[in-house]
């Protein structure tokens, strides 16, 4: 189900004017601190009544000020993960988790609770009250509570910020499954380029209350001008298909005919997936390198060289597998005489393709 958001709201000293349509899937709201992400989410949740606007998830219109339509929050069927957990202090973790369940018309199966508890690693905390949880534990329970409400729209405000890498790696696939296996639209605030790359169907970048950029994850991430957070986040996305899983823990992918080796992926052979290749992980060579530890070497031609304001430049390469972005120094670009049309090789280390960069 698609998500359609259009909002105007004035706060003293801050004006929000945001409008975007996103297809089925997960929409990441991206932007600096104070750019208005939470304000958008709160309006979608009905906790803030914007001056004007309309928010709809498919044909489920949450509100429309023109049509004088306003669903109260409890009729919006939401799963809202707040920026600051907001657990109910008088309820145990289990009761917190099941709170939305009480009000859901069709109840999620019992197995659902167990699965979510398992994924979040909060099984040993079920009888505790929130005051006795650590910061990350609270946040995990808050995630579970929202997911278990059988929502028709998931609103996630930096759900993973308080978690360590290992824990994030366990929870990210769950959001992927939600995105792909259900039709529930997800509006997801994140500062992390990794999460954007891995999860986003659509990226909406906010700047001071306005939409600065919007597009599919591939478009936005493939754009050399897009700097999610910092220049380090530049990276293109390739569509691929699993060919085989090898015994040494590597998976072989086919990206439009090009072969890629990546650390074992969960998808079965034949299944499609997408792989993000970070610009900084791509080395450009003019001759095919030999005796090198990097396993992936893609032949291609230079399409575009975009010098940045600093010492670097982003080079777009046209390879068989698709567009690949490489970040190199201006010095190297000059030394190698990189220019549109020049044939070259993109060297990509297998290990630099992190699990979180590979997603369904």
């Amino acid at each position: 189900m698609s998500l359609s958001v259009s909002l105007r709201h004035s706060l003293p000293g801050f004006d929000l004017d945001v409008s975007f349509d996103a297809p089925r899937g997960l929409t990441v709201l991206f932007g600096a601190s104070g750019s208005g992400k939470t304000t958008v989410i709160e309006a979608a949740a009905g906790l803030l009544r914007p001056d004007a606007g309309r928010v709809a998830a498919g044909d489920h219109v949450l509100f429309d000020t023109d049509a004088r339509h306003w669903l109260p929050p409890h009729r919006r069927r939401l799963g809202y993960i707040f920026q600051e957990s907001r657990l109910f202090p008088h309820l145990t973790v289990r009761q917190n988790l099941l709170y939305g369940h009480w009000f859901a018309p069709r109840s999620a199966a019992r197995g659902e609770l167990d699965r979510v508890v398992e994924m979040l690693g909060v099984g040993h905390l079920l009888t505790r009250r929130p005051a006795k949880l650590s910061g990350g534990e609270k946040q995990r329970v808050a995630i579970g509570r929202a997911l278990l409400a059988s929502p028709k729209l998931i609103l996630a405000d930096e759900p993973l910020a308080a978690l360590d890498e290992a824990r994030k790696a366990e929870i990210l696939p769950y959001f992927e499954r939600l995105r792909d296996e259900t039709s529930v639209p997800i509006l997801y605030v994140s500062h992390s380029a990794t999460e954007v790359a891995r999860l986003a169907t659509t990226v909406v970048a906010l700047e001071a209350g306005k939409v600065a950029r919007q597009g599919t994850a591939a478009e936005v991430l493939g754009d050399p001008a897009f700097r999610p957070g910092s220049v380090r986040g530049v990276g293109a996305m390739l569509e691929a298909r699993v060919l085989a899983h090898h015994d040494d823990g590597l998976s072989e992918l086919d990206a439009k005919g090009a072969r890629l080796l990546v650390p074992r992926v969960p998808q079965a052979p034949g299944q499609g997936l997408r792989v993000r290749i970070m610009g900084q992980d791509v080395t450009i060579a003019l001759s095919k390198p030999e005796n090198i530890s990097a396993l992936n070497v893609l032949a291609g031609t230079v399409e575009e060289v975009s010098p940045g304001s600093g010492p670097g430049a982003v080079v777009a390469l046209n390879t068989k597998a698709g567009r690949v972005l490489a970040r190199v120094t201006k010095r190297s670009a000059a030394a190698l005489k990189l220019a549109p049309g020049l044939p070259c090789y993109a060297i990509i280390k297998t290990v630099s393709i992190a699990p979180q960069d590979v997603g369904g």
């Binding site: 949740a45 109260p72 109910f88 202090p89 005051a131």
Partner: protein
């Protein structure tokens, strides 16, 4: 120790407990509702409602009793109405409970309202996003969080109801076994020379009873608070 107090006095003790208990219980739902209205709603005339609630605190008790008599007496408009549904309050212990309840009402409402205003609306919002309607938000979030305030308010109300004198004697007079609560008995003793001892014995009884309620409420409140605070 039973002859420390005469049978009539023991009756007054029992009656006081009954009156205070039912007065407190009776005003609790309306008190919670009123507190909610005052804390969370916004409407014209809110200040008037607020004033009405506080009236029994401001008025001399005799006046409150007198007004009750006008309203709830057998010939009073409300009393007549009640009588038609079979409830008689005039000269009954139920009338004493009514008087005590009305006198205690502002104290109950204030306590609950203060607690309610301290509940973080963000939690109530969170509950709403999870599908809870206004009513269910109230029942599942607000109410449990204000339990300490309800308890505190109830105990103050109970104590006030145990001590209420002026409005009660005016409204339902002093009928042993029906409306002669402890304070009325104490008052009677204090009116005549030499009655101080008997009065003080009764005072000791009311103090003991009310202290019991107080300590009980403290223990309960502490348990609730500890649960929520997690310490």
């Amino acid at each position: 120790m039973t002859d420390w107090l005469g049978p009539e006095e023991w009756q007054a003790v029992g009656l006081s407990l009954k009156v205070a208990f039912w007065a407190t219980l009776g005003i609790l739902p309306l008190g919670i509702f009123t507190a909610h209205v005052l804390a969370r709603w916004d409407f014209v005339g809110k200040q008037i409602l607020n004033g009405l609630v506080h009236l029994p605190l401001i008025l001399p008790p005799v006046v409150t009793g007198y007004l009750l008599l006008m309203g709830f007496g057998t010939r009073g408009p409300l009393g007549g109405l009640l009588q038609e549904v079979g409830i008689v309050v005039a000269f009954r212990w139920s009338g004493a409970a009514l008087a005590a309840g009305i006198m205690a009402f502002p104290l109950l409402v204030r306590s609950i309202r203060l607690s309610m205003e301290a509940v973080d609306p963000k939690l109530e919002q969170a509950a709403a996003t999870l599908g809870a309607s206004r009513f269910w938000v109230f029942v599942t979030v607000t109410l449990p969080l204000i339990l300490p305030g309800i308890l505190a308010g109830s105990v103050v109300a109970f104590a006030k109801a145990m001590g209420e004198f002026g409005a009660t004697i005016t409204f339902v007079s002093n009928i042993p076994g029906q409306t002669q609560t402890l304070p009325l008995a104490v008052y009677s003793f204090l009116q005549v020379p030499g009655g101080e001892d008997a009065a003080m014995r009764l005072v000791v009884v009311s103090v003991v009873v009310a202290m019991g309620a107080l300590v009980l409420s403290e223990v309960l409140a502490r348990r609730i608070a500890r649960r929520v605070a997690g310490t």
